[in-house]
């Protein structure tokens, strides 16, 4: 959520009004934006932080454009939803998501010592948590977003928060760029993306995951997305 902080203008006297008209007094414009994310302890807050952590912001490696990063966030959310609600025939949720659950927080924190999403886990009390470097990164992004007029950083953070809020309230209306990926290099695929990783050769989810190619929007926001073999090996 972006709020604007306006500096109040003192009640204008005639002198001040005259000076304004004369152009000798310049009133400050609207000041910096304040970006507020949902609380980490909430479902939308936790989901939003995963989306933010996994995509590049301006100046970061892998950044192409605001639109590309936003679409990447939407694709990430679709992966979470696919792992939660769209396990394809021939697979179990345990196989795809390393967990059996109806809770998106469990999908994010799944895996125990073999965590599916590095840095996101449940603490000893069972509460969703994240490692300090993730919290620090997000704090830095929020701080940068708060400098000057609302810009790309603020819009990207707001987009993540809006996506997460919508999802937590049961509304998933964002784009799904991988829904109809039914074949990859001649291999029948299930459609939908079920995994993502940093788009570099050393990262590959292994198993029955298929790398979605570039011409099917397989690379978004510096991440590579993966669908599943229709016929698991």
């Amino acid at each position: 959520m972006i709020t604007r902080c306006r500096i109040s203008i003192p009640a204008a006297g005639r002198v001040l009004a005259a000076l304004l008209v004369a152009g000798t007094v310049v009133l400050p414009r609207a000041a910096h934006a304040v970006v507020m994310l949902p609380a980490t302890s909430s479902v939308d807050g936790y989901v939003c932080r995963l989306l933010i952590n996994e995509v590049p912001f301006p100046g970061e490696r892998g950044y192409t454009s605001e639109a590309d990063t936003m679409l990447a966030m939407e694709a990430l959310l679709r992966v979470l939803d696919a792992r939660l609600r769209h396990i394809p025939p021939g697979y179990t949720q345990q196989q795809v998501a390393a967990v059996r659950t109806g809770d998106v927080i469990d999908v994010i924190t799944a895996g125990g010592v073999k965590g599916q999403f590095d840095g996101f886990y449940r603490d000893a009390s069972g509460a969703p948590a994240m490692v300090p470097r993730i919290s620090e990164r997000i704090d830095n992004l929020v701080e940068i977003a708060g400098r000057g007029q609302p810009g790309k950083f603020a819009r990207l953070l707001d987009h993540a928060a809006a996506l997460a809020r919508g999802y937590a309230s049961g509304a998933l209306s964002c784009r799904d760029p991988h829904k109809d990926v039914r074949a990859v290099d001649g291999v029948a695929a299930t459609g939908r993306a079920y995994s993502w990783m940093t788009d570099e050769p050393q990262y590959n989810p292994g198993g029955n995951f298929l790398r979605i190619p570039d011409d099917r929007a397989g690379s978004l926001g510096g991440n590579r997305f993966f669908t599943l073999r229709k016929n698991p090996r």
Binding site: G59, E60, R61, S65, D68, K114, Q116, W196, G206
Partner: protein, 302 residues
């Protein structure tokens, strides 16, 4: 001197562009190629594609690929060819308003390797700083099954493989490291990245190894020995730009070589937490064998 033979199908053109390094099938230095092959008819702005890659720049691309992406199977697969070939074309992804960044795609068709280069040029409004690269940097490297576009969309270049490999071998250990100003930034960034010492890390000064720098990459790799962690700083900006270090806290990734390494990614399917031992070994080789050892005293209050 490495010479590129003109493609017999096309006319030779005068150019200072040399794709030597690229022609080396994705690995290491190419040396000094003197000419580039003329682009085939029909290629999209072939001269522009060629203009993207200067001789020295291409050589550095190959050195980068050699250090970070090549393995013996890659080189062995092209041993039977007397010349190496690369394809290049500009790319035009949708960018933000005011973003003047440029992209270029380079293919090594015999090893199915695709390199996307980016020369960033855009304003980060919140910081009031412009991210602007002094040259094209490696944006991504990936294998491909089929070329992303038809052959006639690319400018084709060929180079004498023997000369290329000779240069590759002779310069395989050439290294550059941060100067003192960069090391000051790096010390601060590494301390922040290390943060509070984890319980499993012994006290005392931090011993780190800096991997050699590359003029075609804005990645900076550090191996923190007593923390058993590989740390990567990355950015769209050049290392010499202030914005690189202003964004360092958000651009850092750490890999625990004891916890985040597996032999095969199939051991934890679907997880983004792991890297392979082969990859980790490559990073450690660059940091320790080729790198520079630096001892950092504990920060204040530690």
């Amino acid at each position: 001197m490495i010479h590129a033979r003109p493609d017999p199908i096309t006319r030779a053109i005068r150019a200072t562009l040399v794709l030597t390094a690229v022609a080396c099938t994705a690995c290491s230095h190419a040396g000094r190629a003197s000419r580039s092959a003329a682009p085939e008819p029909g290629a999209e702005s072939p001269q522009r594609a060629a203009d993207v890659l200067t001789r020295d720049h291409v050589a550095e691309i190959i050195r980068y690929l050699y250090r970070w992406h090549a393995d013996e199977t890659l080189l062995a697969s092209v041993a039977r060819y007397s010349e190496t070939e690369l394809w290049a074309r500009p790319l035009h992804p949708q960018l933000d308003d005011g973003d003047a960044s440029k992209f270029c795609e380079v293919l090594f068709p015999r090893v199915h390797l695709r390199v996307v280069l980016k020369r960033a040029d855009y304003l980060v409004e919140e910081l009031g700083q412009r991210v602007r690269n002094d040259s094209f940097k490696v944006h991504s490297v990936a294998r491909y099954e089929s070329p992303p576009a038809a052959r006639n969309a690319y400018a084709i270049f060929r180079f004498d493989r023997g000369e290329l490999f000779d240069y590759l071998f002779r310069t395989r250990n050439e290294r550059a490291f941060p100067d003192e100003q960069l090391r000051d930034h790096l010390r601060s960034a590494v301390r922040k990245a290390i943060g509070e010492r984890p319980a499993d890390v012994e006290g005392g000064p931090a011993v780190v190894y800096l991997a050699p720098l590359s003029p075609v990459s804005n990645d900076l790799w550090v191996y923190w020995e007593n923390g058993h962690r590989l740390i990567r700083f990355s950015s769209d900006a050049d290392l010499t730009q202030k914005v690189y270090w202003d964004l360092a806290p958000v651009n850092v990734h750490a890999y625990d070589v004891r916890e985040n390494v597996v032999v095969s990614l199939g051991e934890a399917p679907g997880s983004s937490k792991y890297v392979t031992r082969d990859w980790a070994a490559r990073a450690l080789f660059n940091c320790i064998a080729l790198g520079q050892k630096v001892t950092m005293p504990p920060g204040p209050g530690r």
